[in-house]
């Protein structure tokens, strides 16, 4: 048994932090914000293997797991990466791996890994967010295939994507459709989110699709959608830890440097204890994220429960740590001139996207019932 990072994982962590510190400068971040997506940088991610992290080796990826993905995401959190890594390198390939036909996997996965094909996901809707039970976008059968109608929101990287995986309801089941973009029949309205990422609303108005647009076989995609989303939740918990790590370091720097009443702010016990609380929340998030990353991805109940647990913990910790970072930075904390504001906003996005703490606590509670007493003991 070993929960420590192995040598390869430690090298990956160093490489990720090293690369992003060097290349994801504030100038790079400005470039990425302006365009929403830097293709050159994305290509570098591909060369580093990050886009094929979870893609099996037979399809040109590294075939690694959630811990390695988490390591990269934590580094991205520290660097405040704008590009939609979780959607394009975690959730989308995970959906294709779980649902895709052999042909679809054969064609798409290698291209994703090498950065040649950008695939994003359309899950959330304006009315119900990411609550899968309430997805209203509807797919009906036609003689030649499918007819898709509805409205999807928070589709990250939609403008840059070559393909979007749209989750829709049909015959009481969930199905996923792969739609190449751009497509004149899909209206894309770009929409920035609070963390300065570029998302979009997709309007689908009786979009006619061929039969092969369906991702995988004609069966309920709900378990696969949940599992792919769970992979994303775990990655986001790691990313949140990266953001919190920076906020705490900056807060420690500030309170040990800034002098008031003739001594550093950190000489005040009330502030020191607050920072210990921030550290505690950060380490609890890290541990919950590691716990979820180690869960067996094929054990949907236990893994889903752990993923929701990590997301809920990360969401609560994120808000606490960010608010306290602002508070301890005093007046400067509430300006938009410091980096801490950018981390705060990213953390709010990580807290709310794909379900906030309340949503995930309820899901955790539901899955706890399903798991049963005996399995809960060893979960």
């Amino acid at each position: 048994m070993d929960l420590s990072l192995n040598d390869e994982q430690r090298m990956l962590a160093e490489a990720a932090d090293g690369f992003l510190t060097q290349h994801y400068t504030s100038a790079q971040r400005e470039t990425s914000i302006a365009s929403g997506f830097d293709r050159n940088l994305w290509q570098r991610f591909a060369e580093l293997g990050w886009l094929g992290m979870i893609v099996p080796a037979e399809h040109g990826g590294l075939g690694l797991g959630a811990v390695e993905t988490g390591i990269v995401c934590e580094a991205m959190g520290r660097a405040l990466v704008i590009e939609p890594y979780v959607e394009m390198a975690v959730i989308a390939p995970s959906l294709i791996m779980r649902l895709g036909t052999p042909e679809q996997k054969q064609i798409w996965l290698p291209q994703i890994a090498e950065g040649a094909l950008r695939v994003t996901v359309a899950i959330a809707e304006p009315a119900s967010g990411s609550v899968l039970d309430q997805i209203a976008a509807a797919a009906g059968r036609t003689t030649a295939g499918w007819r898709l109608s509805g409205c999807k929101s928070l589709v990250f990287g939609a403008v840059e994507a070559d393909l979007v995986l749209i989750v829709a309801r049909s015959e009481r089941l969930l199905r996923v459709f792969a739609v190449p973009l751009p497509d004149d029949r899909v209206r894309i309205t770009p929409w920035q989110t609070v963390d300065l990422r570029r998302s979009a609303v997709l309007d689908l108005d009786n979009l006619l699709l061929a039969g092969h647009a369906l991702l995988g076989e004609d069966a309920d995609a709900r378990p696969a959608v949940e599992a792919a989303l769970d992979a994303g939740l775990v990655a986001m918990a790691w990313e949140a830890a990266g953001c919190m790590d920076v906020l705490l370091k900056q807060t420690i720097d500030y309170t040990t440097t800034r002098q008031q009443f003739g001594r550093p702010l950190a000489a005040n016990q009330v502030l020191r204890h607050r920072m210990v609380q921030m550290k505690l929340q950060l380490e609890m998030t890290r541990a919950a994220a590691l716990h979820a990353a180690m869960a067996d991805p094929e054990d949907h109940v236990a893994r889903g429960r752990a993923a929701s647990g990590a997301k809920a913990k990360a969401g609560e910790a994120a808000k606490f740590v960010a608010e306290q970072a602002v508070q301890l930075h005093g007046g400067n904390g509430v300006t938009d001139e410091l980096e801490i504001g950018a981390y705060y906003k990213r953390l709010m996005a990580l807290r709310l996207l794909y379900g906030g703490p309340e949503h995930h606590l309820l899901r955790h509670a539901r899955l706890s019932e399903v798991l049963g007493a005996e399995r809960r003991l060893y979960a």
Partner: protein, 401 residues
């Protein structure tokens, strides 16, 4: 967790489970569940300690040459996990986890030969003479004096919050043997026989109605110099070493998980619906605690595997005590809130496991909730308050002034 264990680990786990099945009776489990204070009484832990001793498993943390089982850190974890999950009693730590390691580290060969076997067998029952009415968090200011008189020290003063002093036949004790500019430099570590003349014990009842702690008065108690551990005036070193063990607290995550599952079972027996109304709030609080327990267990396992691999364990080890005490308090607090008005019924008799259900509307398990909640407030005070822990973490982990 299970998928991380090697085949050898799994067969060891089975061995531990078999041992538990054989020796952990329902009566012992009930005694643990209905203990509302921090420590179980001897009638609860006694048979369990005896069975562990027969098997050579009573002191997992001790080196093999002094009677430890010689387990790897992972085996220790598996043992504590299985015992915790099964609801086995926590053995009284004052001998096994506090003075035992100090005697192993700082004792003379004679002291080791005399005291260690008696700790393992349970023949000696130890209590801890640290805090005083005038020295709590600022322990180094303690004023209990030991004055040299030939081959003896004459000890006078008073100790407080002394758990199970009324059961103990021995006390390890910090005393002042010199007045030095730095108060830490004048402290010695003595072992007292509780039958010595001059010792009186005043019971102190806790908020939960339990008699667990005491004030101990020492009035000219004669202690042989041979009962000193380490050098005179060097007792602070022993004191700090012991506190590390006390604060480390072992692997409490699985035990907390058992307590949470016991609460789930109680909630089900009491017919509280978690799916609707206020029950939804209870269900999410249960989940929030489960998540924290998962995180705690993961944190401790990470520390364990880092140490095993010879790496710096990082900040986890310092944070564990704070996590354990806050989760413990939150579980007991949730129990009271979940039971609502039922938790208001108060039964003064202790221990509660003496009692059968008096009326089916208020089972003894329900009666235990409020005292357990009230007594659990002590978990952020014992072994150094949570505020002292915050100070330590701020300095050692965050590098703050």
């Amino acid at each position: 967790m299970k998928h991380l264990l090697s085949p050898e680990d799994l067969s060891f786990q089975k061995e531990v489970q078999d041992f538990i099945d054989e020796n952990l009776t329902d009566e012992i489990r009930r005694g643990v569940r209905l203990t509302t204070s921090s420590f179980n009484e001897k009638e609860v832990f006694g048979p369990w300690q005896a069975a562990l001793h027969r098997r050579g498993w009573v002191a997992p943390a001790w080196p093999k040459e002094y009677g430890g089982p010689g387990w790897t850190p992972v085996q220790r974890y598996i043992f504590e996990m299985e015992c915790g999950l099964a609801g086995a009693p926590l053995l009284i730590p004052m001998g096994l986890n506090m003075v035992g390691p100090v005697i192993i580290r700082f004792g003379t060969p004679e002291q080791r030969a005399f005291y260690l076997p008696r700790i393992l067998s349970g023949e000696d029952y130890w209590c801890q003479g640290y805090s005083e009415p005038g020295a709590g968090s600022d322990l180094a200011r303690l004023g209990t004096r030991a004055v040299r008189d030939g081959d003896h020290y004459v000890v006078s003063g008073s100790k407080i919050w002394t758990s199970h002093a009324h059961h103990a036949n021995r006390m390890f004790c910090l005393v002042r043997t010199a007045d030095t500019p730095k108060p830490q430099d004048g402290i010695s570590f003595l072992l007292l026989d509780m039958a010595s003349p001059g010792i009186t014990i005043r019971p102190i009842h806790t908020l939960g109605g339990d008699h667990e702690v005491n004030q101990v008065f020492l009035d000219g108690v004669r202690v042989p110099v041979a009962n000193r551990i380490g050098e005179e005036n060097r007792g602070w070193t022993c004191a700090k070493y012991l506190l590390e063990f006390e604060r480390g607290g072992g692997f409490r995550g699985p035990r907390l998980r058992r307590q949470l599952e016991d609460l789930r079972a109680l909630i089900a027996r009491e017919g509280i619906d978690l799916q609707g109304g206020t029950g939804i709030g209870i269900a999410t609080r249960l989940s929030a605690l489960d998540i924290e327990i998962d995180a705690l267990i993961t944190m401790q396992l990470k520390v364990l595997t880092d140490v095993q691999a010879g790496r710096n364990p990082g900040p986890g080890s310092s944070l564990v005590k704070l996590c354990v005490s806050s989760i413990r308090q939150a579980i007991t607090s949730l129990a009271v809130d979940a039971l609502g008005e039922k938790a208001l019924s108060w039964e003064p008799h202790r221990p509660l496991y003496d009692l059968e259900d008096i009326h089916k509307s208020v089972p003894v398990d329900v009666l235990a909730a409020m005292p357990a909640y009230l007594d659990a407030r002590a978990s952020t005070l014992t072994g150094g308050t949570a505020e002292i822990q915050h100070d330590i973490i701020a300095r050692l982990v965050l590098g703050l002034p």
